[in-house]
């Protein structure tokens, strides 16, 4: 090889080397961090179709902020939370996000609510270098990222995804009780589709076939047709890709027909409202879940105080949604603390990707991220309603 070729080769490789890290560099903003405070933002549905989630989540977030500030803040900086109402409207979510990035100068977006709303506003955050942390949608786009697109590294999620949790819970139930004819009834939207995907994938992996697949429109209150069909199809396990009222309606209908069948809900079924409203109708319902729901009279230590504080602050009992909101802010605070006194965007990103474990007070599976994995965990539990309460059946489930 001639000298000039070598020189050319060296020059090219040097050029390539200097360009490679530049291409993979993620731009992270330092805005919103001052000597005395850190500003974070969130958009919630406080007045739209899923305000049953948005309101307690934002309550939980507020409570976490007050607790952190009362304890002296994060490395001496107080936390300020800006909450905007999106009403589950993507247009308003986009505007709210731009407002928070530009006017309020938020450092990170923590726990924004809903799939279409989060997705429509996502690019605005990433382009501005604002972290998108722990959105309240378990869809894949909130944690899967393309290493070739450096700004996508700003996405992190700690919510148990529906596909994975459904698979883990279904696998456990199928192996435990030897069901032969699993069926599913799912909500006719993006969430229900995720549960259906998890159901189908797991059955395919276990070489089983679904006996019946039915769906319902969001907001439906009559499930007699679906239940009659599943009964005639001979189902022995019914997976519910449903939310809150539907498990009650479906199980009530099954009882009316005298049909004795096992029900397994996806994670959104695992909320206090289901046994509270369903009473004896939902007795025996199984559900996939991420963590145990604490009850005031059986809770101990920190959790007991937490429940009492929540009730004092908001005049209502804490629920799963409130815990998720509270944990979102607490997880942020944990990693911001780890990032150190001279907090910057880059240091926050490094802290999040450091692999350091965050453990909450509710004994949930630990939260941990890495440079390649931005989803906290997929560890699932199965719980059952016994005597009007959610009781843990089995934890540490994977598929």
């Amino acid at each position: 090889m001639s000298k000039s070729f070598k020189a050319l080769g060296l020059a090219v490789s040097a050029l390539a080397l200097t360009h490679l890290p530049a291409a993979a560099q993620t731009k992270v903003t330092d805005q919103g961090i001052s000597a005395s405070e850190i500003v974070i933002g969130t958009h919630q549905d406080l007045s739209g179709p899923i305000k049953g989630w948005g309101v307690p989540v934002s309550n939980g977030m507020k409570m976490a902020v007050e607790e952190i500030n009362a304890a002296g803040g994060i490395n001496g900086r107080k936390l300020r939370l800006v909450t905007e109402d999106s009403g589950y409207d993507p247009k308003r979510a986009v505007l709210a996000t731009q407002k928070m990035v530009e006017r309020d100068k938020i450092f990170a977006m923590v726990g924004p609510m809903g799939s279409p709303t989060v997705l429509a506003a996502q690019d605005i955050l990433l382009d501005a270098g604002v972290l998108q942390l722990f959105p309240l949608t378990a869809a894949e786009f909130t944690f899967k990222f393309d290493p070739a697109k450096p700004q996508e590294r700003l996405k992190f999620n700690n919510l148990l995804p529906y596909v994975e949790s459904t698979r883990a819970a279904l696998k456990y139930m199928m192996e435990w009780k030897q069901f032969k004819k699993p069926c599913i009834m799912h909500q006719d939207d993006e969430y229900g589709k995720n549960v259906l995907d998890g159901f189908n994938q797991q059955l395919a992996a276990m070489k089983a076939t679904p006996a019946s697949i039915t769906s319902y429109k969001r907001g439906a209150s009559d499930f007699s047709a679906q239940v009659a069909k599943m009964k005639s199809d001979g189902c022995d396990l019914v997976v519910l890709g449903a939310v809150l009222r539907e498990p009650i309606g479906t199980m009530g209908e099954a009882r009316k027909l005298g049909w004795d069948v096992t029900f397994l809900g996806a994670t959104p079924v695992n909320v206090l409202e289901v046994p509270a409203l369903g009473k004896e109708v939902v007795e025996g319902l199984y559900s996939a879940s991420g963590f145990e729901i604490p009850y005031e009279d059986t809770a101990k230590g920190k959790v007991k105080d937490w429940l009492a504080n929540y009730k004092k602050m908001f005049g209502s009992d804490a629920n799963t949604q409130a815990i998720i909101g509270y944990n979102a802010v607490m997880t942020f605070a944990f990693y911001a603390q780890k990032a150190g006194k001279d907090l910057t965007g880059q240091k926050m990103l490094d802290a999040l990707e450091s692999g350091e474990q965050f453990r909450d007070i509710f004994n949930s599976p630990p939260t941990k991220f890495s440079k390649t994995n931005h989803l906290a965990n997929t560890v699932t539990q199965v719980q059952q309603i016994q005597k009007g309460r959610w009781v843990l059946v089995k934890d540490n489930l994977m598929f």
């Binding site: 406080l46 007045s47 305000k51 309101v55 909450t83 905007e84 109402d85 009403g87 993507p90 247009k91 308003r92 986009v94 505007l95 709210a96 731009q98 407002k99 990035v101 530009e102 006017r103 799939s115 279409p116 997705l119 429509a120 690019d123 605005i124 382009d127 006719d188 939207d189 993006e190 229900g192 589709k193």
Partner: protein, 383 residues
């Protein structure tokens, strides 16, 4: 006060009746052209949404305001436009082509909806358009091979003449503005043509229109098709602005928003579409602004009026707590709309005309000048 003497037909249909129009619209246009270099991208986003909503508003005005056919199905037309664009974009079809295709396809669907609507009037037509919207929503959720069902579709960045036009760039704003301006000019031209006059005649009295030799069915279908096509074009821009579309975004709620645009703006003039769109899009950011800044302002006022700093801080906290009550914004929004319907049925543009006339005639203004005369709802008695 200026008196316009119309001496021939041209005077009557002129788009700019006198030189004052050139001055005021020239200034407005100059402001709109400089806006992206002055305003933040938060405000620019609002302006983009105003352009898109106003385009739909103009479409709805042609159908509802000028032809007298109410529709609660325009969210479906918007969806068809948005999905056509998103679908064709996957195959690297250039923007001008899928933009026009979105308009064309939506127009064809609009005409098809127009046919069964020929036999329906008033409230029954509204019900028919609502059911059409439900059918479209259902198809979008079911036809997974094309629409990806409930998962929704990502809409990629727009490429125009080989350059990327990001949804927050000034270029995208200019695009939306151009579409709006062309739509308005087109609509103005349409309305001063025989077709436009036929629309108005149908609105005022179908029987009279028919007796004058107007083919009522043909013009109704035309009106539906034109209105739907314009909405389809707006749908394409809407999809690009949001960068993601899913069936649950095009619900009855959105159709109602569009109706509110023209009710608040005023159903008798195209100005209403723009004013109504400004109201609908900007009321929410405006209330947010109040929520953020009012507590501080009120506390400042209290302090200057002699309240102690502790008292002022207390006032600030309680105002802030009140302002961030869940659902307060929705309530304010609702109250404003109710007040409009009760006290200003001519909408924002009607109010503007009244204010203008008040100053022009000062001190001779008569309140009865704007007494309700003939608007389309009233003329339904003469079918």
């Amino acid at each position: 006060m200026r008196f316009l003497f119309k001496t021939d037909y041209e005077d009557d249909i002129r788009l700019f009746p006198h030189s004052g129009y050139f001055v005021s619209y020239g200034i407005l246009f100059a402001l709109l052209l400089t806006a992206p270099y002055v305003l933040s991208s938060y405000l620019m986003s609002q302006l983009v949404f105003v352009c898109i909503y106003a385009t739909v508003g103009v479409a709805l005005l042609i159908l509802t305001g000028f032809t007298g056919q109410a529709s609660l199905g325009h969210a479906a037309f918007l969806a068809i436009g948005a999905y056509t664009a998103a679908y064709l974009q996957q195959f690297d079809v250039p923007f001008p082509v899928y933009f026009l295709a979105a308009g064309l396809l939506t127009g064809v669907v609009g005409a098809l909806v127009g046919f069964p609507a020929l036999r329906l009037q008033g409230i029954y037509l509204v019900i028919a358009t609502i059911s059409f919207a439900f059918i479209v929503e259902e198809i979008l959720a079911r036809w997974e091979s094309v629409t990806h069902g409930n998962e929704g579709m990502r809409v990629k960045t727009l490429y125009l003449f080989g350059t990327a036009v990001s949804r927050d760039s000034p270029a995208f704003y200019f695009l939306c503005l151009a579409v709006l301006v062309l739509t308005i000019v087109g609509a103005l031209n349409l309305l001063r043509s025989p077709t436009g006059r036929a629309f108005v005649a149908i609105r005022d009295s179908e029987t009279a229109a028919r007796s004058m030799g107007i083919n009522v069915s043909l013009y109704k279908v035309k009106s539906f098709a034109i209105s739907a096509a314009i909405t389809g074009l707006a749908g394409c821009l809407f999809a690009h602005k949001l960068s993601f579309i899913s069936p649950e975004m095009f619900t009855l709620q959105l159709s109602i928003e569009f109706i509110i645009v023209i009710l608040i703006g005023g159903t008798f003039s195209l100005h209403g579409a723009v004013l109504g769109a400004i109201f609908i899009v900007m009321i929410d950011p405006f209330l947010t602004y109040l929520k953020d800044d009012m507590p501080g302002l009120i506390a400042g006022m209290a302090a200057t009026m002699g309240a102690g700093s502790e008292r002022a801080a207390h006032i600030q906290d309680s105002v802030a707590a009140f302002a961030s009550l869940n659902g307060l914004k929705g309530a304010i929004y609702g109250i404003i709309i109710v007040l409009f319907v009760l006290f200003e049925p001519l909408g924002l543009y009607g109010r503007w005309l009244k204010i203008k006339l008040y100053f022009q005639l000062f001190p001779l203004y008569k309140r009865a000048t704007f007494k309700r005369q003939k608007i389309y709802v009233k003329s339904e008695r003469n079918r």
